[in-house]
């Protein structure tokens, strides 16, 4: 059975049908691309899958559980983590603290233990910091661990968001334009990192990206949406030559 199984998911905002009859199956460990022209509904799909929006119809099953309509917190706990197109970091906290917030649910140090500073608190805190630091290392952010998140340059902020999402120990990672605003070299480097974390953490990734060549290069399958509808869902070679996809991007 697929890790994520989306069935006929749809949402309307008033009269606007933003996503309609969206179907998708992601297997464990798969790297999936989600592409489409501006305004096609890609981010809306992410928001539906992470509980930010409640779907008006359809359903999706994650890891054997029906998750449509659940809260973002419950969805994250079930194993879906995400990043945001417009970066959402905890700006007034340090880089390492941002990742430690992601580790929140993996620690069971209670409120009383924290307030009374019992040995378990100190042990938990050291472990958490170490885990966070190791995650930062993967993204080459370990040197910035103690600076404020808002003081990081743009590219590093994007990486920090991925590190924070990974900290929640997901089975499926949703990346919303992780390379937006990066130069070609940075983008290529980031894509390598993404492929690397997929292998290292053995997670599935669903990726929104505009840079076609990159998506084609690393994704195993690609789903293309236009006006909220899937127009193609196949391996990159097929997507590349699909006349509907070409016309959606280049026009008739």
């Amino acid at each position: 059975m697929a890790l994520l199984d989306v069935k006929e998911l749809g949402i309307s905002f008033g009269g606007l049908r933003a996503v309609d009859n969206f179907n998708l199956k992601i297997e464990e460990g798969q790297l999936y691309g989600l592409i489409g022209p501006n305004g096609a509904g890609k981010t809306t799909i992410f928001n539906l899958l992470t509980g930010v929006y409640k779907p008006t119809d359809g359903s999706f099953n994650f890891n054997g559980k029906e998750m449509a309509g659940s809260s973002p917190m419950a969805i994250n706990k079930s194993g879906i983590a995400r990043t945001f197109q417009n970066i959402r970091l905890f700006d007034n906290m340090s880089v390492i603290e941002n990742v430690m917030v992601g580790l929140h649910n993996q620690s069971n140090v209670s409120l009383a233990e924290s307030i009374l500073r019992l040995p378990k608190f100190k042990k938990g805190e050291v472990e958490m910091r170490e885990k966070a630091f190791n995650l930062l290392k993967i993204f080459d952010l370990d040197k910035d661990a103690d600076s404020l998140a808002s003081n990081l340059p743009y590219g590093k902020q994007r990486k920090l968001e991925i590190a924070r999402a990974l900290a929640t120990n997901p089975k499926l990672l949703l990346l919303d334009e992780p390379a937006a605003g990066m130069n070609p070299n940075e983008t290529a480097e980031l894509m390598n990192t993404i492929a690397l974390i997929r292998d290292k953490f053995k997670i599935a990734i669903l990726l929104i990206e505009h840079d076609m060549s990159l998506v084609m290069g690393i994704c195993e399958r690609i789903v293309v949406v236009e006006y909220g509808r899937v127009i193609c869902d196949d391996i990159p070679e097929v997507v590349r030559n699909n006349p509907k996809v070409i016309s959606a991007y280049l026009g008739e």
Partner: protein
């Protein structure tokens, strides 16, 4: 690092206590300043606890005096009717006051889940005023005439010791809370609710928890206040009191506990210290407030201050 900080805090706390104790016992403090010791402690507790809501949770609350008055009345009613030795009665009164206030913190925390910013400020303002009006008309707590005869049997001049202990507990509990995974969750909610939810933070739980903890300590501050004065009047806990506490938090810079403590001390002592100015007192007080605000938030002046004290910009709080 963490250990060094704790030791430093313990040393400072003990040194200040010994200094205070000797000053009081040797009669070196004037009566005017003796009378300020407990109010300073009460204001520190109020400012530090409100800072948890405003500075760390990022919600504007204008009803802190409401929590204070609920705690004060609950704890002081206990003292009026109970007849126990002071060393049992006072801690019990403090805990009762804190718990009843915490209950109301829970109730106020619920609208805070749906309202933000100005709207929540209006709700908390309304809460404070409702509490005051209800107390004003409630016969069993003395109505507008006030609740009289709050006497635990402890000598009046010894209350500052109790108040000092409560201050230390407040600072320890709130700063330990903030510097834990729970506190980080609270700060994450302040910085970005949507992102906090997306990494699995229970926003409902932590918002309410923030209000409950802050209200608990505000309630204890109220109990201390009531025992020190010996009479509780609803009019004391008006909107101005809430604003006064908020000014301390903002002046000490939001999310900064030592700042709240210093601001609470200055703002309690300043009006008394300016008494010699007679008619010009409130005028100078206002000017002093503006100057302190500028000094703590104006970028150029912060640079200037850093040059003098050689403090380096640190990441995180």
């Amino acid at each position: 690092m963490e250990n060094k900080k704790s030791i430093l805090f313990a040393i400072i706390a003990i040194v200040i206590f010994i200094a205070l104790f000797t000053l009081v016992e040797m009669g070196l403090l004037s009566r005017q300043y003796m009378g300020l010791l407990v109010p300073i402690c009460v204001n520190i507790i109020l400012a530090v606890s409100l800072n948890l809501i405003v500075g760390f949770l990022g919600e504007l609350s204008l009803g802190h005096a409401g929590f204070m008055s609920i705690g004060a009345y609950a704890g002081c009613l206990f003292t009026v009717y109970a007849n126990l030795p002071p060393f049992i009665e006072i801690p019990l009164a403090l805990i009762i006051g804190g718990l009843v206030a915490a209950l109301f913190g829970f109730i106020i925390g619920i609208p805070a889940l749906r309202l933000r910013g100005d709207y929540l400020a209006i709700v908390t303002l309304g809460f404070g005023e409702i509490v005051r009006s209800v107390l004003n008309s409630l016969k069993i707590v003395g109505g507008s005439g006030g609740l009289k005869g709050i006497n635990s049997g402890m000598h009046k001049s010894d209350y500052y010791i109790v108040a000092y202990i409560v201050v230390i507990i407040t600072i320890l509990v709130i700063s330990n809370f903030i510097n834990s995974r729970h506190g980080r969750a609270v700060k994450a909610i302040r910085d970005n609710v949507i992102a906090a939810e997306s990494v699995g933070i229970n926003v409902v739980y932590y918002k309410i928890l923030g209000f409950v903890i802050a209200a608990f300590f505000a309630g204890m501050a109220g109990v201390l206040y009531g025992h020190n004065i010996g009479i509780l009047k609803p009019a004391t806990f008006d909107f101005n009191k809430s604003i006064e506490i908020l000014v301390m938090v903002i002046m000490g810079s939001m999310g900064n506990i030592p700042g709240s403590i210093i601001a609470a001390i200055i703002l309690t002592v300043l009006p008394e210290a300016l008494r010699f100015l007679q008619d010009y007192r409130m005028l100078i007080y206002a000017v002093a407030l503006i100057l302190i605000m500028l000094f703590s938030s104006n970028p150029t002046l912060i640079e200037f201050r850093k040059k003098i004290f050689g403090k380096k910009e640190k990441g995180g709080k």
